[in-house]
C-alpha cells in the first residue's frame, strides 16, 4: 500500500474515533460544557493537558528548530516544560479550589471588578485566537503534504471534526478526545525516533542513545569540520541574557496560557489538580526528552546523507524529490563541482533545509515502512486538532460565560447558557478556519508572542491574588495594563516598526519576562497606595489557603460590589 493509502486509512480511523468519543460524551448542562462536570480523573486530565498543550508546533517544528540551534534550542525544551512546575506549585491547586469556569472568572471575582474581568477576557481571546489560527494552518499543511488535497479543503475538514465534538460535548467531549489524541501523537512521535536511535547508535531508547552513545561527539566533530559551532556549544546563536529571558518568558507564559489553566478546573478536587499537573508534565516529558535526541540524530543523519554527495546520487533519493516539491528542501550546486555542500556561509551553502521537515521526513530518511509515515501524519493532525479544540473552548467560554452570563444576562437559564456556549464554539471555529485559509502574514510571528503576552498579563495578578492578600483591584488593573502595554509596544516596535531590540538587545520573544516583572512591580506598588480590598475578598483569599476542599462561599459576594 502507498503512503497516501495508509495515511487515508489512519486519518479516517482516528477521525471516527474522535467523533465516537465526542458523541459518547455529549453534555446538557453548563458545568459539563465548561469544566467537564469537575469529573476528570487526575491521570486522564494529565494526558488531556499534554495533548492540549503539545501543538502542531511542538510536534512538527520543535525538533527541527533545536536541530538548527543546537544548545540554544534548549530555550524551548526548558521553557515549555518549566512552566508546569509554576502551574503545579503556584496556580493550579488554588484555581481549582476557587472552582469557577474560566481565568477571567478568577480575575473578575478576586479583584471584585468587571473592568479587570474585561481586560482578562480580551487578553484570553487575543492569546487564544492567534494560537488557534496556527493550528488550523498546521492541519491544512498535513492534509496537503500527505493526502494531496488543497490546504483549504484540509482546513475545512479539520473544522468539521473539531466542531462536532466541541459543540456537542463541550469540555467533556474535548477532554476525552484529547486523551485519545495524546495516545496517537506520542506513539506516532516515538516510533520514528526509536527507529532512528536504533539505526544510528544500536540503542533503541532515544534518551539513552542521546546520553550514552558517541553521536554527540561525532556530530560536534562534523560541525567543526564544516565550519559551524559545536552542536553542544552554548550561546552560538543567542546571547546568554537572551536565552535566559526567552526561557523565563516561555515558562511563565505556559503557566499563564488560559487553555492550559482551564484544564485544571476539570478535576474533582485540589489534590487531583496537583497530581494531574505532575502527570501532564510526565506525559509531555516523554516527547520533550525524545525531541532533542531526534534533533541530534536527524542533523547527523541529514549531514551524512547529503553533504559532499554527488548530485546524481542525492537526486535518486525518493524522499528528497518529494520534499523538494514542497519547496521545504532545496539544492543549488553553486561552485559547480558536482557535489552538494552544507556550509554556515550563505554565499557558499548549497543545501537549504526548512526546520519543519525534520520530524515529518525522519521516517523516510530512516527508510521506515509507509505505514509509519502515515502514522506520523496522523499524529501531527492529532496534535493540531487537540490544541485547536482546547483553544476554541477558551474563546467560546470567554464570550459565552464571562461576557454573556457574568456581565450581560446573569439570570440566564442552564439550557440557554449551554446553547450560547455551543453557538460561540461554532463562531470561534469559523473564525479560526477563516484565518487558517487566509493566514494574515503576521500570524506565524505573533504565535510566539502569545507566550509573552500571557506572561505579562495573567501570571503576576493570579499569583499576587493568591499569595498577597493586600493586592486590590486598582493594582491588578494597572499591573495588567502596564505589563501588556509595555510588551505589545516592544514587540510592535521591534518586529513591525523596524527598531533594533532597544532593551539590552533582548529579542521580542523574551520581552514578556520584563513585562511580567513590570506587572508585578506596578500591581504591588499601586495596591499599597490605594485602599485594601474589601473584607469579604480577604476572607476569600484566606479560604483559598485553608487545608479544606470546599470552594469559597462566593455567593456571598453580591453583585453590588462589582463595578
Amino acid at each position: 500500500m502507498s503512503v497516501e493509502a495508509w495515511t487515508t486509512v489512519f486519518v479516517i480511523i482516528s477521525f471516527i474515533l474522535y467523533l465516537y468519543i465526542g458523541w459518547h460524551s455529549r453534555v446538557q448542562d453548563s458545568k459539563g460544557f465548561y469544566v467537564a462536570g469537575h469529573g476528570v480523573p487526575a491521570i486522564a486530565n494529565g494526558a488531556a493537558t499534554a495533548a492540549d498543550w503539545m501543538s502542531a508546533a511542538s510536534f512538527m517544528s520543535m525538533a527541527g528548530l533545536i536541530s538548527f540551534l543546537g544548545y540554544d534550542g534548549s530555550i524551548y525544551l526548558m521553557g515549555w516544560t518549566g512552566g508546569y512546575v509554576l502551574l503545579a506549585l503556584l496556580l493550579a491547586p488554588y484555581l481549582r479550589k476557587f472552582g469557577k469556569y474560566t481565568v477571567p472568572d478568577f480575575v473578575g471575582d478576586r479583584y471584585y471588578s468587571n473592568v479587570a474581568r474585561v481586560v482578562a477576557v480580551i487578553a484570553a481571546i487575543f492569546v487564544s485566537l492567534t494560537y488557534v489560527a496556527g493550528q488550523m494552518r498546521g492541519v491544512g499543511i498535513v492534509f496537503s503534504r500527505f493526502l494531496q488535497v488543497p490546504i483549504e479543503t484540509g482546513v475545512i475538514i479539520g473544522m468539521i471534526i473539531v466542531g462536532f465534538f466541541a459543540v456537542l460535548g463541550g469540555m467533556k467531549g474535548i477532554t476525552w478526545t484529547q486523551v485519545a489524541q495524546y495516545g496517537i501523537l506520542i506513539v506516532a512521535y516515538l516510533i520514528p525516533v526509536i527507529a532512528l536511535a536504533w539505526i544510528l547508535t544500536g540503542n533503541p531508547i532515544p534518551q539513552f542513545a542521546f546520553t550514552f552513545s558517541d553521536i554527540g561527539v561525532k556530530l560536534n566533530q562534523i560541525q567543526v569540520d564544516l565550519g559551524f559551532a559545536e552542536y553542544t556549544q552554548p550561546f552560538a546563536n543567542k546571547t546568554m541574557l537572551d536565552v535566559l529571558f526567552i526561557t523565563i518568558a516561555l515558562m511563565v507564559g505556559t503557566a499563564g496560557l488560559p487553555h492550559v489553566i482551564v484544564r485544571f478546573y476539570t478535576v474533582p478536587d485540589v489534590r487531583a489538580a496537583r497530581y494531574s499537573a505532575g502527570w501532564a508534565l510526565l506525559f509531555i516529558a516523554i516527547l520533550y526528552t525524545s525531541a532533542p535526541a531526534l534533533s541530534m540524530f536527524a542533523r547527523y543523519n541529514l549531514i551524512s546523507t547529503l553533504h559532499n554527495q554527488p548530485i546524481a546520487q542525492v537526486n535518486q533519493l525518493d524522499w528528497v524529490r518529494k520534499w523538494e516539491n514542497t519547496k521545504l528542501l532545496s539544492f543549488d550546486d553553486k561552485n559547480q563541482d558536482g557535489l552538494y555542500q552544507l556550509t554556515p556561509d550563505k554565499a557558499t551553502n548549497e543545501i537549504l533545509i526548512d526546520n519543519d521537515i525534520i520530524v515529518l521526513s525522519t521516517p523516510e530518511v530512516a527508510k521506515l515502512a509507509p505505514w509509519v509515515i502515515a502514522l506520523v501524519a496522523t499524529g501531527a493532525l492529532a496534535a493540531a486538532l487537540s490544541t485547536a479544540s482546547g483553544l476554541l473552548l477558551v474563546i467560546s467560554s470567554s464570550i459565552a460565560h464571562d461576557v454573556y452570563y457574568r456581565m450581560i444576562d446573569p439570570g440566564a437559564s442552564e439550557s440557554k447558557r449551554v446553547l450560547v456556549g455551543r453557538f460561540m464554539v461554532g463562531f470561534a471555529i469559523a473564525l479560526a478556519g477563516y484565518f487558517g485559509v487566509n493566514p494574515p502574514g503576521f500570524v506565524a510571528q505573533v504565535v510566539a508572542f502569545a507566550f509573552g503576552l500571557a506572561a505579562a498579563s495573567f501570571f503576576p495578578i493570579i499569583i499576587l491574588g493568591i499569595f498577597d492578600k493586600r493586592t486590590n483591584k486598582e493594582g491588578a488593573i494597572a499591573g495588567m495594563i502596564s505589563g501588556l502595554g509595555f510588551t505589545i509596544l516592544y514587540i510592535v516596535s521591534v518586529k513591525f516598526g523596524g527598531a533594533s531590540p532597544w532593551l539590552f538587545g533582548i529579542s521580542p520573544e523574551g520581552i514578556g519576562t520584563v513585562g511580567m516583572v513590570l506587572n508585578f512591580i506596578v500591581t504591588y506598588v499601586v495596591s499599597r497606595l490605594t485602599p485594601p480590598p474589601p473584607v469579604e475578598i480577604q476572607a476569600l483569599v484566606e479560604n483559598l489557603r485553608s487545608p479544606y476542599d470546599q470552594p469559597p462561599a462566593l455567593d456571598e459576594i453580591d453583585e453590588d460590589h462589582l463595578d
Partner: protein, 85 residues
C-alpha cells in the same frame, strides 16, 4: 471551618516553605545549571555529551517532573496533618 485560624496559618506557612524550597531547586537546575553556569559545567563530560548541555536538554526536564510529584505527595501529608482526620 471549625479549626482555629492558627492551624490554618501553620498550614499555609508549611505550604509556602515547601514551595520556596522546591522553587529554589527549580531555579538552580534550569536558570543556574542550564544557562548561567552552563559553560562551566560543560567542562565536565557526562558520558557522550557535556554535562551543562545534558542538563539543559534532558536533566532539567526530569527534575521538573520529580519536583511536581514531590510537591503533591508532601502536600498530601500536610493536608492529612492539618485536616485533623
Amino acid at each position: 471551618m471549625n479549626q482555629a485560624p492558627d492551624e490554618h496559618r501553620a498550614y499555609w506557612k508549611a505550604n509556602t516553605t515547601l514551595i520556596r524550597n522546591l522553587m529554589l531547586i527549580w531555579a538552580i537546575a534550569s536558570l543556574g545549571c542550564s544557562i548561567l553556569f552552563v559553560e562551566l559545567l560543560n567542562k565536565i563530560q557526562f558520558f557522550g555529551v557535556p554535562f551543562g548541555f545534558w542538563m539543559a536538554q534532558q536533566g532539567t526536564i526530569y527534575i521538573f517532573v520529580i519536583l511536581i510529584f514531590v510537591y503533591a505527595t508532601q502536600m498530601d501529608k500536610l493536608d492529612k496533618k492539618y485536616r485533623g482526620k
